[in-house]
């Protein structure tokens, strides 16, 4: 384990990237992990269907916070369709650590929140077109 707490993870826990809030975000979503009560919110501003700005906020363990930093960094400039393709492997590759099944939920919480946000955005924008 203690590889699980690689320096990068601890650094991102203390100094997260893209932490904060956006005004009038186009996409936003929030969810919590019922086991630990950790909360992550992600907010995105779009420009021509691409991620222009992204921020996250919330409280959580080193794993979920590092994962949120890496995920938000990863999606900058990407198209919505590309975001839909992101999966577990992308997150674990970015974290570069071994994670057991219990803590996997912490690592994947930000991705779950991002997907919730995308699908509710796509759902509402389809409705608007109709």
């Amino acid at each position: 384990m203690s590889d699980m707490y690689a320096e990068m993870i601890i650094d991102l826990y203390r100094h997260p990237m893209n932490y904060g809030k956006l005004e009038n975000p186009d996409i936003k979503a929030k969810d919590s992990n019922p086991i630990c009560g950790d909360v992550i919110e992600i907010q995105i501003k779009l420009n021509k269907g691409k991620v222009k700005e992204v921020k996250f906020n919330g409280k959580g363990c080193a794993i979920s916070q590092a994962s949120a930093s890496l995920l938000t960094e990863m999606i900058k400039g990407k198209k919505i369709d590309e975001l839909k393709e992101l999966d577990k492997k992308d997150i674990l590759d970015a974290l570069g650590i071994e994670i057991g099944p219990v803590r996997l939920k912490c690592a994947l919480l930000p991705l779950k929140v991002l997907k919730m946000g995308i699908y509710s955005y796509l759902g509402s924008s389809t409705k608007a077109e109709e």
């Binding site: 601890i10 009560g37 080193a62």
Partner: protein, 407 residues
């Protein structure tokens, strides 16, 4: 004093190695381990006299019924109650729900007040929320002070406001606080309120006498006291249980059933619908035997010394914050803490790597977490098989966690 090394030999789980290290199990407030004696007693039922109870004419059924009712007698004696006042349920949560449904739904009316405390487990909050919502009753909460003790003046103030019922935890699963239940029950009765004591964290760890406490109901679980999962106990005063409606309806709890009506069996069977957890009750009986052999005073003494030893050592760790009372006389074997800015789950992961099992999170006590101003805590909790050497390992691993997180 108790012979910990001898006790440990009865628990095969400690022979295992985790990641090459011996298991240091410090999550006893969640569930205890089980000795051979308990597992053997349950196996014997399944392998030698397995049958359903209370309705068999044949020999096996008689043996099973005797063993089940003998277990009830053991449990009754353990907390100084009468056997007909002991109802077997699944766990402490079900015991509390039984009271909220059977007593609460007939006795709580619109505008009534139910008093709880800020240090209750969710199991002694949510059933009362459901009841209060249904009946338009009000919930009130006794606050805690900075030490983690109940504010007794707060309690007395509420009691003077016509409280009908109180749910009160005997020992907190987070703070370790042992509440003065006897005095509080006495005060509540003088003010006309009934009291249910949640004894999930006290019955396994110290002598508990329902007559001395004087409570109207008392709930606890088998799996926190060396017994199996799926068996718990509700104690209730006979005159109250007799007046209460059944909780679950079905087989075994009836006297006569007709198409449109039925009458109920005597206590305690009125509250035990369906096929009972026979093996569970027998296992719990064996757990009671095991604890009696050690002696509950000795159990408490051992945990007291170990907790004092642990508190003295843990308090020395730089950046540690310990929750709950410092006075060991009002504290059970539970130590909740936070270390620097390390999230409790990260702490638990680092300790897991050392073979140490501790709990991390809100411990099913979110209102208490809010009151303490934290998202969660790490928690070590002790039992009869824990040693000072294990506490030393805990302390060393916490120091290691400080290094990993560069505190």
């Amino acid at each position: 004093m108790i012979d910990v090394e001898k006790i440990r030999q009865d628990f095969p789980i400690f022979e295992q190695r985790f990641k090459g290290k011996p298991l240091i199990y410090l999550d006893n407030a969640a569930t205890s381990q089980r000795p051979n004696q308990v597992v053997d007693a349950m196996n014997k039922y399944y392998q030698v006299y397995n049958a359903t109870i209370h309705r068999c004419v044949y020999k096996l059924g008689e043996e099973a019924t005797n063993a089940y009712e003998e277990a009830r007698e053991k449990v009754a004696k353990f907390i100084n109650a009468n056997p007909e006042e002991i109802i077997f349920v699944r766990n402490a949560t079900e015991a509390i729900n039984l009271v909220a449904y059977s007593w609460g739904r007939s006795n709580i009316r619109e505008g009534d007040k139910i008093l709880l405390t800020l240090m209750e487990h969710h199991s002694n909050i949510v059933p009362w929320q459901l009841l209060a919502k249904e009946k338009k009753a009000h919930l009130e909460f006794v606050d805690i002070d900075d030490e983690g003790l109940l504010k007794i003046d707060d309690f007395e103030k509420f009691m003077n406001e016509e409280i009908k019922f109180m749910g009160l935890v005997h020992a907190s699963n987070v703070l370790g606080t042992i509440n003065p239940v006897k005095e509080m029950v006495n005060y509540a009765h003088k003010n006309g309120a009934l009291v249910l004591v949640d004894a999930a964290q006290s019955v396994p760890h110290m002598p508990v006498d329902v007559h001395e406490i004087g409570c109207d109901f008392l709930a606890f679980s088998g799996h926190k006291m060396l017994g199996p999962t799926g068996i718990g106990v509700l104690y209730g005063k006979r005159e109250l249980l007799e007046k209460m409606n059944p909780f679950l309806g079905g087989g075994d709890m009836i006297r006569e059933v007709h198409l449109r009506e039925a009458s109920w069996d005597d206590l305690p069977w009125k509250f035990e619908a369906g096929t009972s957890n026979v093996a569970g009750a027998i296992g719990l009986g064996a757990a009671v035997d095991y604890l009696n052999k050690i002696g509950m005073k000795n159990v408490r003494e051992h945990e007291k010394e170990l907790t004092k030893y642990a508190l003295d050592k843990i308090v020395e760790i730089k950046g540690i914050r310990i929750y709950g009372p410092k006075d060991i006389n009002v504290r059970g074997g539970v130590i909740s803490f936070n270390l620097g800015d390390i999230h409790p789950h990260d702490l638990a992961s680092i300790l897991d790597d050392e073979g140490i099992a501790i709990r991390a999170g809100h411990h099913c006590a979110q209102p208490l977490m809010e009151r303490l101003g934290v998202n969660g805590t790490a928690r070590a909790s002790f039992y009869i098989y824990n040693t000072e050497g294990e506490v030393d390992s805990l302390v060393n691993s916490l120091e290691k966690a400080r290094k990993v997180f560069k505190l």
